[in-house]
Subunit: 415 residues, 2 copies
């Protein structure tokens, strides 16, 4: 195989995950393998860094720092929530980016992120094609929300799910060691989709006596049904584990209790009761029982590398590598999807998904996978999550703390 | 060595931990080794179960269930918060207990727990001696609060600390991957002592760029100093990690903001702002900056076996074994303490601590280990925690979830 000419650049975007650096590691290692001495640049803080010329040489990191990308949680390159303007109204931004690419002889751009990042990559791809820039552009999926279409699942999701499931089991065992009644509500992320909450259904397999209720945005929420569910669960057992997505919605698709929960940005205390978990806690206290604890996992669930899934890490690396493999064949404008094959047990393979079919779409938990009546999930959902959360890697340093290094960023001079 | 006659009983009490079952495992395994075919009974839900005659045969569990005790978080025997009455006013309770012990030929009682459990064990020991009951009584320490006197540290503490430190690092890396400012407050347990909060000081060693402030009950809290601290930290870096014990106190030893935080049991929403974390969040929002997240770890930190310290597990087993070793020598009325030796690196050995010197005492973080001015801890605190959180064991089942089994409890018939 002849070696590839030119350089590449990789950047990260959106909320960080336990494995987003693993995808960067995949891009870096594979590109160095196939390249004729080319460079792997990184944009600091995503596309925003590229626009601002904050670009550093990832391949110049010493090998121990490169290896660290495989283990380190969060976004080591820096992330951003910058939204690219429309190329028609703001072509300067695009001209700026491609001019930088030209200066640095960048022929490949890999953007690791979620919906917004795929949208940015799609716009850049269209601009490149319309303006004759020979840069191959690829999206590398990442999101704990697991809501990208065209892929069986998204790197980052499984590790977050694994952390949530283990935390939920541990909390259940905590409340369950007492004779007294006790209800625990765990609020997990998911504003529009309930993949993380739904994943917790697998607890029922590991802990058959768990008395669990699951609420997610895909199942319209009513307070009266919720009260009824809790009362019914309480007849079975005075201990109940409730897992709720932050974005519960009513039958009209409106967020529940939007005035008093975290969607309000009021800074003066009284309205800031917290999110949906706090609301559900109040509903139970007022209607059922006073012993109810609420745990909002908040950002702990995003980068919980200490409880990451090896499958997730391996796949995060795989999609990074596959993006390089596809791009150097001359393909552009795609996201690397994950296709699940189950012929001989679970296997994940890379797949091509057109970027313009991904961006601004949301993949929801199929309603057939949910049992709304019983506030739980069906076997399909359990079968789906089961192979994704298995196996561990040692993400710890010798001192018992997760691996960390402050990357030596040698910024390039673009003048 | 001649084998020991008679049976023993073990029970668990107080808040569960990641390793309290490991101590039961230590008692069980060692007693079966040294006993002449004696039984190891367990009291379900602590002393309360013993009073109610809810006692089962732990040695009758099959070996896979016995092994599971080594790995499973929370209190597998069941816990309780029952407080033994004074033997002078309520001798019936004590007569009941010792009559049960006699029926079951129980010569040794091992109580795994914190301050209250040591108090119960102490009372039982005094009663036994005053009334001629030949039962050796031992306390086995357990508490994530680490506040028992007479021992260098308490099993359960190190695993909780390790979980908190890793979670805090991951949250710091999360907030730190953005360019925007961001403050994170993590509220950890500790109503009267700040061992868990103080432990997080070790983060500074693993992540040198962390911009961290630590608040604990041992350091009198004032709102004005807090605001000043945060403002000063913000001059260094717009990202700040704040770790606060739930039980912060003012210069008069009164809990901070006691009206509006979680100590209030008001069930009608408006006053229930949550705990100290929520209060600190409001202080920052009103005085400094609006981008501040608050994470109350709540019970997730108690049984986080998925992030347990191997040192902690090993020591939890060791104190269980040592209790048996001491008791069969005829010693009674002691807790097994942990003595730290540092001649050739860190080593922990068992120690005898009289129960009546332990109960109702609280060991605080030494003020010399805290830097109140800078809201951080000194090197002594870091040296103290460092060897306790190292090494992992695989606490997971093949499905990626923490090990769990519902113990087969064959209750004895006392009639």
């Amino acid at each position: 195989m002849s070696l590839v000419k030119g350089n590449c650049i990789v950047a990260q975007s959106g909320g960080p995950t336990a494995v987003i650096n693993s995808s960067v590691y995949g891009v870096l290692k594979r590109f160095l393998e196939v390249s004729e001495g080319g460079k792997v640049y990184a944009g600091a803080n995503g596309i925003q860094g590229i626009i601002e010329g904050k670009i550093f040489d990832l391949g110049a990191l010493d090998s121990s720092e490169q290896e660290m990308l495989k283990y380190m949680p969060s976004a080591a390159l820096g992330s951003n929530r910058y939204k690219l303007k429309d190329p028609k109204t703001m072509p300067e931004e695009y001209e700026n980016i491609f001019s930088t690419f030209e200066k640095l002889d960048i022929k490949y751009f890999f953007y690791v992120g979620g919906n917004d990042s795929m949208d940015a990559a799609s716009k850049l791809n269209e601009y490149a094609q319309a303006n004759g820039h020979d840069v191959k552009i690829f999206g590398v999926p990442k999101t704990i929300d697991n809501d990208l279409v065209g892929t069986d699942h998204c790197p980052g999701f499984a590790s977050a799910a694994k952390y949530i499931c283990n935390t939920a089991i541990e909390c259940w065992m905590d409340v369950n060691c007492y004779k007294d009644e006790g209800i625990i509500i765990i609020e997990v992320m998911g504003r529009d989709t309930g993949w993380l909450a739904a994943s917790s259904g697998i607890i029922q397999k590991a802990v058959p006596d768990v008395n669990q209720l699951i609420y997610l945005p895909e199942a319209p929420f009513t307070e009266s049904k919720f009260i009824e569910d809790v009362k019914k669960a309480r007849e079975k057992n005075g201990k109940i584990l409730i897992i709720a997505s932050e974005g519960l919605k009513d039958e009209n698709g409106e967020y529940i209790n939007i005035d008093s929960n975290c969607y309000s940005s009021d800074a003066f205390g009284h309205k800031q009761l917290g999110g949906i978990g706090r609301y559900l806690q109040e509903v139970i206290k007022e209607n059922i029982h006073n012993r109810v604890k609420m745990i909002e996992l908040n950002i702990t669930q995003r980068c919980a590398r200490h409880c990451a899934s090896k499958t997730d890490i391996d796949e995060a690396i795989m999609v990074g590598e596959a993006a390089v493999d596809y791009a150097i064949k001359g393909i552009s404008g795609y996201m690397v999807g994950i296709k699940r094959t189950t012929d001989k047990g679970y296997k994940a393979v890379a797949d091509l998904v057109p970027l313009n079919e991904v961006c601004n779409m949301v993949k929801k938990v199929p309603v057939e996978w949910i049992n709304i009546e019983k506030a739980t999930v069906n076997q399909e959902m359990i079968d789906y999550i089961e192979p994704l959360i298995v196996d561990q890697v040692d993400s710890f340093q010798s001192n018992g703390l997760v691996k960390y290094v402050n990357l030596t960023k040698k910024f390039v001079n673009l003048d």
